[in-house]
């Protein structure tokens, strides 16, 4: 599936390239500073600037402070609704998670490609990155669950009122659905981001090839494809927000399981 000459390879945008330090090794693992790491650093810096700008604690908040406060308030309300009063202590984690994913998704859609040599990179379209985020959420659930309830945490897998003969089967099914959570959490974000970006690149190859082929194809193929690209880009912005929200929402639901069992 290699790209032929002059074609757009929709998978090339996901390639991880070392920017510098490609000879850095720790215990046999290469720790070069890659484009993925660069975009994570950009995301963190932008997030820090965004939050720092809103921490002036003025009595009459300005626009910036309102933006930050509505973001924290949104997460606060979500945790309050899903977990209750105990949910407040998870606000810092879920807020960081939500904003990090949201900024990453949106930064990957930025049209920085118009500057020659600069390529936007969406690191949330890599399973390793979303996997680590999901494992972080899952380990918080495990740690909180076993810390608060000890061995009683396993009653999470047996709903109230289960008939005695059904308990082994229900226990196995519930355990399986519990263990699959980090995978589904990571997979959802990764595939949603990757599919959208592949679609955009495929459409872009329609536009480029259509214009190159002649006047007829540029009218029939290239122009409608370009219009569709604009529409899909708008949809991708929506998806970027929804996926970040869904990740935070599901994390808060899983934490609720750990806090309250059933």
């Amino acid at each position: 599936m290699a790209a032929e000459e002059g074609k757009v390879d929709p998978m090339k945008q996901f390639q991880i390239e070392p920017l510098f330090g490609s000879s850095w090794d720790i215990a046999g693992f290469n720790i070069a500073f890659t484009n993925s790491a660069l975009w994570m650093a950009i995301t963190v810096v932008l997030l820090w600037v965004f939050v720092y700008g809103g921490m002036k604690r003025e009595l009459v908040p300005g626009r910036w402070q309102m933006a930050v406060e509505s973001a924290t308030g949104f997460i606060d309300d979500m945790l309050e609704a899903n977990i209750g009063k105990e949910g407040r202590k998870y606000v810092p984690y879920v807020f960081s998670l939500f904003m990090f994913i949201l900024f990453a998704n949106l930064l990957g859609l930025m049209p920085v490609g118009i500057i020659p040599g600069v390529h936007a990179f969406t690191f949330t379209s890599h399973f390793t990155v979303t996997g680590v985020l999901a494992v972080m959420s899952f380990s918080i659930v495990l740690i909180v669950g076993f810390w608060k309830h000890g061995i009683k945490f396993f009653t999470l897998f047996v709903p109230h009122g289960t008939p005695l003969p059904m308990i082994p089967a229900i226990f196995l099914i519930e355990l399986f659905s519990f263990m699959i959570r980090p995978f589904s959490l990571a997979l959802r974000l990764f595939v949603a981001m990757m599919a959208g970006h592949v679609l955009l690149k495929v459409l872009s190859s329609f536009v480029i090839d259509g214009f190159n082929y002649g006047a007829m194809t540029s009218l029939i193929v290239a122009v409608p494809s370009f219009a569709l690209m604009i529409a899909i880009s708008a949809l991708e912005i929506l998806v970027a927000g929804i996926q970040a929200y869904v990740f935070a929402l599901l994390t808060s639901l899983y934490i609720n399981d750990a806090e309250h069992l059933h």
Binding site: A192, A195, I242, L249, L250
Partner: protein
């Protein structure tokens, strides 16, 4: 049939799963909107459940996409 052709046909068939998930997602939002218009007061409180249903329906379509990607690039 050549193995490569069979893989591509399988990847194409996986797109059916994506279409099915589209029906599911449409059903989630359609039903929500239908009931939200009947009782707008209760609609805001159910938005979390709306997105949980959306996430569950969407995940199964994304799995179909993963199957297609595995067939094309890995298998």
């Amino acid at each position: 049939m050549e193995a490569e052709a069979a893989k591509l046909i399988g990847a194409g068939l996986a797109a059916i799963g994506a279409g099915m998930a589209a029906i599911g997602v449409g059903n989630v939002f359609g039903s929500f909107l239908e009931s939200a218009l009947r009782n707008p007061g209760a609609a805001d409180g159910q938005q979390g459940r709306l997105f949980i249903g959306f996430a569950a329906a969407e995940l199964l379509g994304l799995l179909a996409f993963v199957v297609a990607m595995i067939l094309i690039f890995v298998a």
